[in-house]
């Protein structure tokens, strides 16, 4: 079979290479079965198109028409000093680092001391992880086509297992580098995060290209939060202009757990975040926050789902966007409250500033509420900057340009209050300040 054929569609290429891929893997039968089922879902559904309601404002056409290498060559050594800036260096962290989809032991720092912070490839193939894999791998996913595609090819990514009562002693950085040695590379990392009862973890995830060759990443992360578990997850999306990312994150929450996901989208060609929260226990708290600051022809789409399946829970969504040039944004926030899920507080807000006349945002809340004793609020604003605030700043000597930058900075920075790692908070604050292109005259 000639999988290099340029005439083949990406879908066909993936389907045909699946067979070759499977033959070379030493998974046990249950994993093979999961993957076989998954590739069938993808075969049937294919890549989503704009005819799908959920993909109305995001077209994958330009991505799927390219011909990708499905396996990175990874023959270029990456030196730490060249990539140091992409890590958070001023605090001690565990690191799980991949280069073109392959694990880099040199750049990583993993552990098995009370908790497992290591590789999914090891977890999928070694017997000692079998019970966790059997219990959690591919168990909460809604079987959409992109997640299924990832499941079929899933081999490498982060595996994080925090047993009952444990807290991972330092944050974990998951970083995926693309070297650009392959001119067009498709990556499908898969992360599994299991945080058992009363356990705690903080994770920072980043995808980063090292040159301007196109990369298409279809990433899946499964997160299981047990009773009273706390998960704090940060996604940094500040990639180069030819890098596209589809992030599919699925979260299962049990009783009294709290899971927060912050997504910082500052770069990349096309970024789509499918962030799905399933509240399977009472007294859950789900926190979804995002800051998007983009320009040129960049596109960022946040597609969130919070499914309240049990009573006495909360969800808080706060997404802010600043769009310049011809950039486009999408916010599609769906909240479902099942009929038994009484006493729910669900908040959603999406605020946007359009800096240029050519920029656009499509914001769409979707509330499906089947219980009667709930408090749901949603608000969406699309606007310009506050002229009164600009005048106020001018009377203090802060000019138009700096004033606008400061207001945008303030607008976006407000979301950072819930970031719990101070060094990360200051890093993101600086990224935002740089992104807005003005020296704000103070250290953050």
């Amino acid at each position: 079979m000639n999988i290099e054929s340029r005439n083949m569609s990406l879908k066909d290429k993936l389907l045909s290479s699946y067979l070759t891929f499977q033959e070379n893997q030493d998974f046990d039968n249950s994993i093979h079965d999961i993957k076989d089922a998954a590739i069938k879902v993808f075969e049937e559904k294919g890549f989503p198109t704009r005819k799908d309601e959920n993909w109305k404002y995001t077209s994958l056409n330009s991505l799927v028409k390219e011909d990708y290498s499905l396996v990175g060559r990874n023959d270029d050594a990456v030196e730490f000093r060249d990539v140091k800036k992409f890590f958070l260096n001023d605090i001690d962290t565990y690191k799980i680092v991949f280069i073109d989809g392959k694990y880099s032991s040199y750049l990583s720092e993993t552990t098995h001391d009370g908790v497992d912070v290591c590789l999914l490839s090891a977890a999928l193939t070694k017997p000692k992880y079998k019970s966790v894999i059997d219990k959690y791998f591919d168990k909460i996913l809604k079987k959409d086509s992109l997640t299924s595609l990832n499941t079929a090819f899933a081999r490498e990514g982060a595996y994080i297992y925090v047993p009952k009562g444990k807290a991972v002693s330092k944050p974990i950085q998951i970083v995926h580098f693309a070297t650009g040695v392959e001119s067009n590379l498709m990556l499908q990392p898969r992360n599994l995060v299991v945080v058992e009862e009363n356990a705690e973890v903080q994770i920072i995830e980043r995808h980063q290209s090292l040159n301007s060759n196109p990369v298409f990443t279809n990433s899946v992360t499964e997160i299981y939060a047990g009773n009273h578990a706390r998960v704090d997850y940060y996604k940094i999306q500040n990639d180069k202009e030819q890098a596209s990312l589809i992030d599919n994150t699925h979260i299962d929450q049990q009783t009294s757990s709290e899971v927060a996901v912050h997504t910082f989208s500052f770069g990349g060609k096309l970024t789509r975040n499918n962030l799905n929260f399933y509240q399977n226990g009472e007294h859950n708290n789900s926190i979804l926050k995002g800051v998007t600051i983009i320009e040129d022809k960049q596109h960022v789409d946040h597609n969130t789902l919070v499914h309240h399946k049990q009573p006495n829970c909360e969800s808080h969504q706060d997404y802010k966007g600043i769009f310049d040039d011809r950039s486009t944004g999408v916010f599609n926030g769906k909240v479902i409250v099942d009929s038994i899920a009484q006493k729910i507080n669900a908040y959603q807000s999406n605020n946007n500033i359009l800096v240029s006349d050519k920029a656009s945002i499509n914001s769409k809340p979707q509330l499906e509420i089947f219980a009667d004793d709930v408090r749901c609020s949603h608000g969406c604003t699309i606007g310009q900057l506050d002229e009164d605030a600009l005048f106020y700043m001018k009377t203090r000597g802060i000019g138009e340009k700096e004033g606008r930058a400061l207001l945008m900075y303030a607008f976006a920075n407000n979301v950072l209050e819930s970031v719990k790692i101070p060094q990360l908070k200051s890093r993101i604050t600086k990224l935002i300040a740089n992104k807005l292109g003005v020296n704000l005259g103070f250290e953050v």
């Binding site: 009377t395 203090r396 000597g397 802060i398 400061l406 207001l407 976006a412 005259g441 103070f442």
Partner: protein, 250 residues
């Protein structure tokens, strides 16, 4: 320092100021009093450079130079400061970061380097003590959730930090309890010198017991109808604005 000549200004075809003349010298404190709707806040906005207002006639000279064509930030760089009646909330920017930005932008406009951090800190400490502002307050978002008194104290704190040549205090006493009024007035008085000037805009005489003016002007219907010494404020308090209105219509 400030010379206003036959100033006529309005907003959207509505005339508000109808020929104001006022001269303020360095070292002086002027009070501008008047009933609601007399044009007091418009006058302060026009001096500070709010663009919505259109100046239809007359001129404003600051240190001998017309400032009418200048943007509000340029006027601030020259040394004009307006304390707002309703300071704007800016969530996400702390009091400290805001004032640092303001000071360094002003220095930049004058071709100066950023103020060294140690000097900045010392100054912030000194001026916040003057206004009885504690450390926690400085790290809060600017004006967000501040009480009326906190907002006004923050305005005067910024004035103290920026050291303007001319400070216009627009209804600084509104929303203040007696303690806050004392703190704010004390701050203003400590900042007075022979090199700077203050214009106090107020409806009531109360503030003028604390910040004692050299001159009092009464603004009615967009015109200064009466000027005098500090005793004029007392007389107004006693007789009410109808007294000047009646007197001027005669």
């Amino acid at each position: 320092m400030l010379e206003i000549k036959n100033l006529n200004a309005g907003i959207e075809d509505k005339d508000i100021l109808r020929g104001i003349d006022l001269k303020v010298n360095a070292g002086e404190v002027h009070a501008i009093m008047g009933p609601n709707g007399s044009g007091k806040s418009t006058l302060s906005s026009v001096i500070a450079g709010k663009e919505e207002y259109e100046v239809t006639d007359g001129d404003i000279l600051f240190e001998g130079e017309s400032i009418l064509e200048m943007d509000a930030d340029e006027r601030a760089h020259k040394g004009v400061f307006l304390s707002f009646q309703y300071p704007v909330e800016i969530p996400g920017v702390s009091v400290t970061n805001f004032i640092k930005t303001a000071i360094n932008q002003t220095r930049k406009a004058k071709g100066l380097e950023d103020m060294p951090a140690s000097e900045m800190l010392k100054k912030i400490r000194e001026k916040s003590e003057l206004l009885e502002i504690d450390r926690k307050f400085l790290s809060r978002s600017l004006n967000e959730g501040f009480s009326g008194g906190e907002k006004k104290r923050n305005e005067i704190f910024q004035m103290a930090m920026l050291e303007p040549k001319l400070a216009i205090l627009d209804e600084t006493d509104s929303g203040l309890d007696i303690d806050a009024l004392r703190i704010v007035s004390n701050g203003v008085n400590k900042l007075r010198s022979s090199d700077n000037a203050v214009i106090v805009i107020t409806h009531y005489q109360r503030l003028l017991e604390y910040i004692v003016p050299d001159f009092v002007h009464v603004l009615v219907n967009g015109k200064i109808v009466k000027s005098g010494g500090k005793e004029l404020a007392l007389e107004l308090e006693e007789k009410g604005y109808d007294w000047v209105k009646a007197e001027t219509t005669v």
